[in-house]
């Protein structure tokens, strides 16, 4: 995903209607018409249908039977759902917190150390290495990793044996105590490139004089990182955290391909849970409830993230003028 930091409200600037009292505005609306109709058919109607179905008892055939809040009550008591939701929080750590933190340090090190002392070519090559997993279909990443992590003959276990750590061998994806952490590790690998590239782009915006002044004052690398890099690219950090958290809550393909939610539900997540409720258990009403709750959580987070962003930008602009 890429993101614009720009808030929606400031996109088009101010317009004073009195200045052009007779210019017709309707004709521009015509350009929005195809998009609006397509959105109605593909997003709005299905979304409203899904919300409605969440209040019904429906197996996908016949007509849905209104059941009010029954599905929601069931959800509250459904330990399977809460377990899957808890795993979501682990995914937030693996896909948002860790990649952001590591990405920051890597981006700063690449920009500051390697870029200055070894040249931009090496930076470009290293950045490319970190970004590569991002262009891989998640299904393919899943194949690669489930084979690497396979219990017998998997590369990781073979490697551990080869370097004399045979006792560390594990059934990485098949052991309920470890599987979630293995999936988390894979997701860090998948996700790391995105914050790295965004942060490196952000760093190019920072005035080099800030660093030079700090260096003259005798500030070491960590101090400069803490007092210049971090505050300067805060907008990027906000954006990356918001979008990666949303991506973490939506994660589906990786779980499908790596573990199918197993073993014994140890790696189940809400999106996979709703998928199986829809298509394997054919409890469409309940599946719709789960996905509605997931949607609400994600929308609240997205709005909070966007709000935070606009407020930070406004504060910054206020400070400048």
């Amino acid at each position: 995903m890429t993101i614009t930091v720009e808030g929606g409200g400031r996109v088009t600037g101010r317009h004073d209607p009195a200045a052009h009292p007779r210019r017709p505005r309707t004709s521009y609306v015509l350009f929005l018409l195809p998009g609006a109709l397509a959105f109605l058919a593909v997003i709005v109607v299905p979304f409203l249908m899904n919300t409605y179905v969440g209040f019904t008892d429906w197996q996908g055939v016949g007509s849905p039977k209104w059941s009010g809040l029954a599905n929601y009550r069931r959800l509250l008591d459904d330990s399977e759902f809460w377990a899957s939701f808890r795993h979501s929080l682990f995914m937030v750590v693996a896909m948002a917190a860790v990649p952001t933190a590591v990405g920051l340090v890597l981006a700063a090190a690449l920009f500051d150390y390697v870029g200055k002392h070894f040249g931009s070519r090496i930076v470009a090559v290293l950045r490319a290495c970190f970004y590569l997993p991002q262009v891989l279909p998640i299904a393919v990443a899943g194949i690669v990793w489930s084979w690497i992590l396979a219990p017998d003959n998997g590369s990781l276990n073979a490697l551990l044996k080869a370097i004399g750590l045979g006792s560390w061998q594990q059934d990485w994806l098949g052991d309920p105590d470890i599987a979630l952490y293995s999936v988390m590790g894979v997701m860090v690998w998948v996700q790391l490139g995105f914050p790295l590239v965004v942060f490196m782009a952000g760093l190019q915006r920072v005035d080099p004089q800030l660093y030079e002044a700090a260096e003259l004052d005798g500030a070491g690398w960590w101090r400069r990182f803490w007092h210049i890099t971090l505050p300067q690219i805060r907008p990027e950090i906000n954006v990356v955290l918001t979008w990666c958290t949303i991506a973490a809550l939506k994660v589906f393909g990786a779980v499908y391909v790596l573990t199918k939610g197993g073993p014994g539900g140890a790696t189940d997540v809400p999106s996979y849970f709703s998928f199986t409720t829809f298509f394997e258990k054919t409890q469409v009403g309940y599946g719709a409830t789960i996905s509605t709750v997931l949607t609400v959580i994600i929308l609240v987070l997205a709005l909070a993230g966007l709000g935070l962003q606009t407020r930070a930008e406004d504060a910054e602009e206020g400070g400048r003028t």
Binding site: T2, I3, T4, G8, V11, T12, G13, R25, Y28, L32, G35, A38, F39, V42, I43, P46, F47, M49, T51, V53, A109, Y113, V114, V125, A128, C129, F130, L132, P133, L136, P137, I138, A139, V140, G142, I143, V144, W147, A150, N153, S155, W189, L192, V197, A201, E236, I246, K250, F252, G253, Y256, P270, S271, F278, I290, S291, T292, I298, L299, A302
Partner: protein
């Protein structure tokens, strides 16, 4: 001197980290060209003795990989173009036309893009069955055109919002109508951003999993991602074939990466630094 000594460990550490990122790709490539006998004798870490390509060939034929590639290219290509057109039309109305309530319209598009696909998947599945579009590539094209256009509208609107007004005013005075202004002036000037969108739409659609998994069940319609994901889920493959599958899945991604690297990183820069 001491500074130089301190720099090297940082570089070495970064190189080791980078190596860790690409090792999975290398190990897949190495094992995809081993014979099953060699694999079971020497394990996954040994270098291949020769070039054994039967695994790749078997896998290609078994899943009809050529057809999957055609499907993926067809779906992703159509989505990229259609979503870019839709984004341009939407963003023209919002960014240049400054229609009333544009902030709300834009917020709506953003939310549509953020929405989890799980909240759409069953109704889309159901409606497409009713409309006779289920298990057609067209159904996936339509859905992803709209989802990608939501993001495109957001990005392009902010770019077009800063479009120099004088150029448009001048064209209007010369008698160009809105349609002509759009195609003769706005689109050519915004070509770099539209290019970025095309690349991202193509790759994102290529990588999509959930909706194509649900919508495309017959072998002739499946995309690369779905075909590989489903096979993996069934765990029917031996190690060599798994690697063949992985390598064939990785290769298009690497090709995109090499071809579009600059666009990809510039795209993220365009998006994030604005």
């Amino acid at each position: 001197m001491t500074a130089a000594i301190r720099r090297w460990p940082v570089l070495v550490a970064l190189c080791v980290a980078a190596l860790f990122m690409v090792v999975p790709f290398l190990i897949v490539a190495v094992n995809a060209v081993k014979s099953p006998a060699e694999y079971s004798r020497n394990g996954p870490l040994s270098l291949p003795r020769g070039l054994y390509l039967d695994g790749l060939k078997d896998f290609w034929q078994r899943v009809d990989y050529g057809q999957k590639l055609v499907n993926s290219v067809l779906i992703s290509g159509s989505v990229a173009v259609l979503a870019a057109v839709l984004s341009v039309l939407n963003a023209y109305a919002i960014g240049i036309g400054r229609i009333k309530g544009r902030t709300w319209v834009l917020a709506f598009f953003v939310l549509a893009n953020v929405l989890p696909q799980e909240a759409l998947v069953y109704p889309v599945y159901y409606l497409s069955k009713q409309a006779g579009l289920y298990d057609t590539r067209l159904s996936v094209i339509i859905v992803f055109t709209v989802i990608q256009a939501a993001f495109g509208t957001y990005l392009l609107s902010s770019v077009l919002g800063q479009f120099p007004r004088e150029i448009i005013e001048a064209a209007r005075i010369d008698g160009a109508n809105k349609w002509q202004v759009l195609w003769r002036i706005v689109v050519p000037v915004s070509r770099p951003t539209i290019g970025v969108l095309l690349v991202f739409f193509f790759i994102w659609t290529w990588n999509e999993f959930l909706l194509p998994l649900v919508m495309l069940i017959s072998n002739d319609n499946q995309t690369v991602s779905v075909a590989l994901g489903v096979l993996q889920g069934q765990r029917l493959m031996d190690a060599t074939m798994t690697n063949a599958a992985a390598l064939l899945g990785v290769l298009p991604a690497i090709v995109f990466f090499l071809v579009f690297q600059r666009t990809l990183t510039r795209g993220i820069a365009v998006g994030a630094v604005k």
